[in-house]
Amino acid sequence: MRWVETEETVRFNEVDEWGMAWYGHYMAWFEVGRMALLRRFDLLPRHMVDLGYIAPVVSLTCDYKQSVGCGESIVIRTTAVKPEIAALICKFKIMLKDSKVLLARGETMQVLMTVDRKLVYRLSGEIEKRISSLLQFCQT
C-alpha cells in the first residue's frame, strides 16, 4: 500500500489548555492529507464539481495513540481504498516527523452525489477513471 506524505507543524492555536493538540484538529490534518492525495489525480473538490459531483464524508473514525505539543513537526500519511459499495475510504496515519512515533490513525468514508444532491449508486465515466487511477496508485 502506498501512502502520500504531508508535513505540518503543530501551531499554538491548535493545542488545548493542556498543551496537547486538540482532538478535533486531527480532522483538519486528515483533510490536509486527503487534499495532497486527491490533488495528484485531479479529484479535488472543485475538479469533482466540474465533473458534476460532490463527495461528502459520511463516516469518520480516529484512534488517538499519543499526544503532540505546539511546535512539533508531524507527518500525515494518506492512502485510499474502495469498498464494494460506491464509496471511497481514505486512511490516515499521523506520526512525529523525526521518530515516526504513531500519534493517531483514522479513516473517513465518502460517497458520491451529483451536484443536485442525488446519491450515485455506481461509479462511471471520467470520475470512475480518475478514482481507478487513484486506487491503482495506492495499491502499488
Binding site: 459499495i85 442525488k118 446519491l119 449508486y121
Partner: protein, 94 residues
C-alpha cells in the same frame, strides 16, 4: 435464480432474506417484513447508505443494475416494488 425471479412469492422471500442478511438487521427477521412496507425512513427505516449495499447485493444475485438514486427511489419503495423492478430488468436468457 431464473426460477426465483419467475415465482413472485419465492422472489419476495428471497429479497426479504437478502435485505436482512446484507444489512445485518438485528431486530427484524425476514418474516416480519410486509411486502408493501416502505423500505426507507418510516417503514423499515433503511437509509441511503443501506441502498448502496443493496445495489451491490442485487447486482451480484440478479445481474440487475440500479444506476442512481432516481431509479433507486422507485425500486426501493417496497419489497413488491423491488421484485417488480427485478422482474422487468432481469437479463433475458440467463
Amino acid at each position: 435464480m431464473k426460477e426465483v425471479v419467475k415465482n413472485s412469492e419465492a422472489l419476495y422471500d428471497f429479497l426479504k432474506k437478502m435485505i436482512v442478511e446484507t444489512l445485518k438487521l438485528e431486530d427484524i427477521s425476514p418474516d416480519d417484513i410486509d411486502i408493501d412496507t416502505p423500505l426507507f425512513r418510516e417503514g423499515l427505516g433503511l437509509d441511503s447508505l443501506d441502498a448502496l449495499e443493496l445495489v451491490v447485493a442485487i447486482e451480484k444475485h440478479f445481474n440487475v443494475i440500479i444506476e442512481d438514486e432516481n431509479v433507486g427511489k422507485k425500486a426501493f419503495e417496497s419489497i413488491r416494488a423491488l421484485a417488480n423492478f427485478i422482474k422487468e430488468e432481469y437479463p433475458q436468457g440467463v
